[in-house]
């Protein structure tokens, strides 16, 4: 039996054998194209000042995202409102390019009255969705820039006994718009027992208030055992308790990233000290999934809400669906020759006309019988 299988396999890989079509090579092609195209990822960090957000981001991506940072004093902070600062950096590792945008929210939670501090953030997220929707409905969709926020790290202070009222309110306001990953900041303040207690408390409060945080997808059954085990460990460690550092300290004879205290050294990349490695693993291995959930869940939610509300979206007034399958098909066409491009355009025009007809029909129906139950 196994010999037959082996023969079959050999048949499939050997291009000369009869019966081999060759589409098994498609993943490689997609991989090559993606590597050439590069990845885009937008990460938003939200939390009160002084929780180590910038240090953590620098540690995660081993880069200095804020080289000329000036920390304002309390007196200067009094008149400030929440601002949105987006910094983009291009990171390349082994030929794979990542265009990472980190959206920072300085001023969040600093004011005495933080009632309105999340309005700015929610408007920003909605704006990115709106822009994408507008681009998606446009005529020329070749170079849509995806600035939608794919993931939001929410920093919880380790000093309290759980989440603060502001934390709860904010998460409830954005959990339907973006993937929320709660992170316990500056975890070296906590002993092991305190850390466990705080994590449990936060998870209880998240349940209690019905907050939907990002859930890691279960490992597929055909993945190897290590990956399954890793996913299981990641799932049980949420929220991650992390420590960040930009400094290298000498410890036990080697240089490690860490924080030097008179009573010991906290190593950032030591899994027994904190969950930094877990957070990084989660982010890197699930970057694709985060983008998918943003596209399939949050963006679609936004889109359906928006379309129900109505209003013109694009210059020609038609709202075209852009299914994922269509996007995949379009990708190779962006570098195709001219006649295929023209065929594409005419295909688009025909589609547009069809949809315009359908929409006009629906509108007529809507005006005719306003109380029809099925509408």
């Amino acid at each position: 039996m196994s010999q037959a299988d082996k023969m079959k396999q050999g048949q499939l890989t050997n291009p000369e054998t009869p019966g081999y079509v060759g589409f098994a090579n498609l993943p490689n092609q997609v991989h090559r194209k993606s590597v050439k195209k590069g990845f885009e990822f937008t990460l938003m960090v939200v939390g009160e000042s002084g929780l180590g957000k910038s240090t953590l981001i620098n540690s995660l991506f081993l880069t200095d995202l804020y080289p000329e940072r000036v920390i304002p004093g309390a007196a200067e902070k009094i008149e400030r409102t929440v601002q949105i600062e987006a910094s983009t950096v291009e990171i390349e590792e082994r030929g794979v390019k990542l265009r990472l945008t980190v959206v920072d929210t300085p001023g969040y939670g600093d004011a005495i009255n933080s009632q309105d501090c999340f309005n700015t953030i929610i408007s920003y997220i909605d704006d990115q969705f709106e822009r994408y929707l507008h681009d998606e409905s446009g005529l020329n969709r070749r170079h849509i820039v995806d600035n939608r926020v794919h993931c939001c790290f929410y920093f919880i202070s380790p000093l309290g006994h759980g989440m603060k009222p502001l934390d709860v309110q904010f998460m409830k306001a954005i959990h339907n718009k973006v993937n929320v990953v709660p992170v316990i900041a500056k975890a070296d303040t906590l002993t092991l027992r305190e850390r466990e207690r705080l994590k449990r408390r936060i998870l209880d409060e998240i349940d209690e208030h019905g907050i939907k945080i990002y859930h890691l997808p279960d490992a597929e059954s055909d993945e190897d055992e290590d990956f399954k085990e890793q996913t299981r460990i990641l799932k049980t460690s949420i929220p991650f308790a992390v420590v960040g550092s930009n400094q290298q300290i000498e410890a036990k004879g080697k240089k490690v990233r860490g924080r030097l205290y008179p009573w010991g050294v906290v190593e950032v990349e030591n899994p027994e000290h904190n969950d930094f490695l877990k957070l990084r693993t989660m982010l890197i291995t699930h970057m694709q999934d985060l983008q998918e959930v943003t596209q399939d869940l949050h963006y679609e939610n936004f889109r359906s809400e928006r379309l129900k509300r109505g209003g013109r979206l694009s210059s020609h007034g038609y709202i075209l669906p852009l299914s994922p399958a269509y996007v995949l098909l379009c990708l190779p066409f962006s570098t195709s020759s001219l006649d295929i491009h023209e065929k594409n355009q005419s295909f688009l025009r025909r589609m547009q006309e069809m949809i315009a007809k359908m929409q006009a029909q629906m509108q007529k129906q809507g005006e005719g019988d306003g109380d029809s139950p099925h509408l």
């Binding site: 005495i112 009255n113 009632q115 309290g160 006994h161 009222p165 924080r259």
Partner: protein, 360 residues
Amino acid sequence: MSEIVPPEVRPKPAVPAKPSHVAPPSSGPFVPSPQGTGGEGQGSGRGSALLGYIGIDTIIEQMRKKTMKTGFDFNIMVVGQSGLGKSTLVNTLFKSQVSRRSTSWSRDEKIPKTVEIKSASHVIEEGGVKMKLTVVDTPGFGDQINNENCWEPISKYINEQYEKFLKEEVNIARKKRIPDTRVHCCLYFISPTGHSLRQLDIEFMKHLSRVVNIIPVIAKSDTLTLDEKTEFKQRVRKELEACGIECYPQKEFDEDMEDKSDNDKIREAMPFAVVGSDKEYQVNGKRVLGRKTAWGVVEVENPNHCEFSLLRDFMIRSHLQDLKEVTHNIHYETYRAKRLNDNGGLHPISSGQDTQESNL
């Protein structure tokens, strides 16, 4: 001229010696001078020369005995966001379970919607001296989304205590010992962000530094490395100065050069970066109070690890009486003067007799 040598044996003064790191070792109160002048006191202000030993110095011993018998009150208020370790620190300071956490409050209680004032009193005894310690806690401070004016309940409470004391003082038939519920010291807990003070911190201290003695402390300071600690402290001091906030010990109340130099040293070291703990661990063969983490044990009483010992020595061992005096002589008097000016005089409360115009 025969020399009159003062007797060798004298009762030792019962004044607790100032710890050496707070004051420069001054010459002892009694300098057996061979000339027989028997100069008393610390040298400032030459009194008239005494020709023999009278025993004026025993008044200190008498005062001490009296204080021991009556005991004294100390009221401390702790203010800060929840989770900053206020209760633990107070328990560590007084080495006993005096904070409300030990009595009725459980860790899982919800954050109250407005600032509450909860006070708990305990009598603790050490070396024959009884102290009635009252800890006033302020749960809910700074925990809401909208924290505007959250210092008002605290300000109201402090003024109410002054009012209570004033009413008693103004009475015709006064009690021998007026119960003192005035807040002698307010420990304000600063969150160890490492950046700067928060707006709320500045607003609170602005409103209350003229009404009560505020001692700012940096809470949970085991989150800061040594460099971060020094930078943070410098920045906090600069900000306090820029906003015109005077914390205890206030510069204007320094009485003499010695006080000034002692207090200057303290002011340079403030705000104290503290860590509190009520658990003991074994370190190098000794049992110490501390926090045990995967990378080491933070020792609470180790001056290299945190400044808890400095705070304790300053607050309890050297400046406890001074805190009470400044509260009574300065803050309370300010309140009293304002009250009298506003009302045009207070009417004393008597038990049934005709009220007289107060001769205050």
